[in-house]
Symmetry: C2
Subunit: 326 residues, 2 copies
């Protein structure tokens, strides 16, 4: 039995999904759907076709689960509900504040059409969210701490690139060791934004632009940098290409609590990722298996990682799981 | 709405459950059931009654979930199926090799009686098992490493106490830093038993017993010590009481894998527990909430942590979870 997967959108995430499917022997990639001219899209797989996204409904019966690889800002708010009306879907919608609304709109499309749509899958939202939940459910008296990094932040890199005079840039978010160690030790400090993370920027300037004024514009930028200790390095375009092309990321979720008679208990979940988009893609693919199983058992509508029993992610049977992994 | 909990068995685990229930405002402890004479059992709660375990069926309608706090060796194989015929139950059955059989026997009792019985709950089996599953589902190409400790091992302490001439003893399992760091770095070493953990024993001897022969008996003991680098310290009964009364434990599950284009990705789950039994109890209590919800929605029979969607553990509504934790 093979789960037939479609990919909608072929950027970093779509490429990651394509490469992850090959690692899962119970899955098969049916096609890649793009807004671009299919002939212009070079893909890694040899035997897979690229199609226009407008034609996707023609392939409805050939796809068990469609993995939506578009962005949360412009693509998913439209595509999510639209495609969940015709396909079982997985997406990585990650605008935290808009998740409740997005959930409702996808649910309204999926449920009456008997489709299963798992939204906001990845590591944050996703695996980190699950660990926030396990942490507070098991240790209701305690604090949850989230640290991100060391990793390249797409949003903050974009913010740098929007500054006039900046040709290109990347930004790394770095957790402050001292804060992490304090939390790990079982104390429950109150930490300010500045105490938890620092930000490190690598910036390529346009010709003739003044370093001092750009640096000032960065470190005082509201929302993005002003509340952090920010370091700015000016580098050449070549250095950016050579040293900063990878997309590492990661982080920690730490739940520090006290059990019944005041014993300190610390739960920690951490990720150290060489490729952020490829890891997110790997999570999407595992949840595609869950969407497939849930649709087969009639569990329709929008779902999140909170609704998915762990066993649904595995290709192993319940009996094998109990025998081998419990 | 309050979930009414009963406790069967009042040892370390039962006491832990009692103290954990107080931290969960949606729960109430109905009664403690013991094989001992109820009048001889001193409990922490003021308004809770202690009853004879033989009378437990009289309280059937007053208990939503019964938490079984007996041992895996002698108590649960009998009590588990017996009580799952009349109650929704949670237990911490942890004899890994016997889990499949135990599951079947509990399932056969619970399902026809429309009861929900979640078995093998705790941290290993339990939260560690879930992380083994998430690890291999997300990164199918990789290795999973489990390290335990630093922590007091009940089984190994018991093995020491069975040696003739040993009056009392405790044993700590200690993960080897070098091995842990190697795995964390993203290499995937093949590690022998000896390379992963060391064992440290604190032993009180009976009067006049020879240290050398006891030490030899310990370090050569098959199954328990012979495959490890074992250190033996002889101490006084007073030192044992003063310095080794706590029951700390913990450990790490590390999944080290490669995503699609060969990027190294490392997922780690770790626990640092000041009280092993109290933490296990806290996990049992969170899963009691899940058992309650599942029984209400007609999901009967034996279950494991693999069958439990994370959201079921939380007192929060699905909407609150999406809004606050996703």
């Amino acid at each position: 039995m093979t789960i037939r997967i479609g990919i909608a959108g072929y950027g970093n995430l779509g490429r990651g999904v394509e490469s992850a499917i090959i690692q899962n022997t119970d899955m098969e990639l049916v096609g890649i759907f793009t807004r671009r001219n299919p002939e212009d899209v070079k893909i890694a797989s040899k035997d897979v076709q690229v199609y226009k996204i407008e034609d996707i409904l023609e392939y409805k019966d050939q796809i068990d689960v469609l993995i939506l690889c578009g962005g949360s800002k412009d693509d998913l708010p439209v595509q999510g509900p639209q495609l969940a009306a015709s396909f079982n879907t997985i997406d990585s919608f990650d605008t935290h504040a808009k998740i409740p609304d997005y959930f409702e709109s996808v649910d309204a499309a999926a449920k009456p059409n008997e489709k299963t749509a798992i939204i906001s899958v990845g590591w944050d939202p996703g695996l980190f969210s699950i660990n926030r939940l396990y942490g507070e459910a098991v240790l209701p008296v305690g604090e949850t701490y989230t640290f991100w990094g060391k990793g390249l932040s797409q949003g903050h890199s974009d913010a740098l690139r929007r500054i006039e005079g900046v040709k290109d840039a990347v930004q790394y978010t770095i957790p402050v060791d001292e804060a992490v160690n304090q939390v790990r030790s079982g104390t429950r400090p109150t930490l300010t934004t500045r105490q938890k993370h620092t930000r490190e920027c690598y910036v390529v300037l346009e010709n003739g632009v003044d370093e001092t004024s750009i640096k000032e514009a960065i470190v005082t930028m509201p929302d993005y940098f002003i509340d952090y200790d920010t370091t700015v390095h000016f580098i050449t375009e070549q250095q950016l290409k050579t040293d900063h092309a990878a997309m590492p990321h990661g982080g920690f979720i730490i739940r520090s609590g006290k059990s019944g008679t005041n014993n300190s208990q610390v739960m920690e979940y951490s990720l150290k990722l060489k490729s952020n988009p490829e890891f997110t893609s790997s999570v999407l693919v595992a949840y595609a298996r869950a969407a497939y199983k849930m649709s087969k058992s009639g569990q329709y509508g929008a779902k999140t990682v909170f609704d998915i029993a762990p066993g649904l992610l595995s290709p192993k049977s319940d009996h094998e799981l109990r025998k081998e992994l419990l």
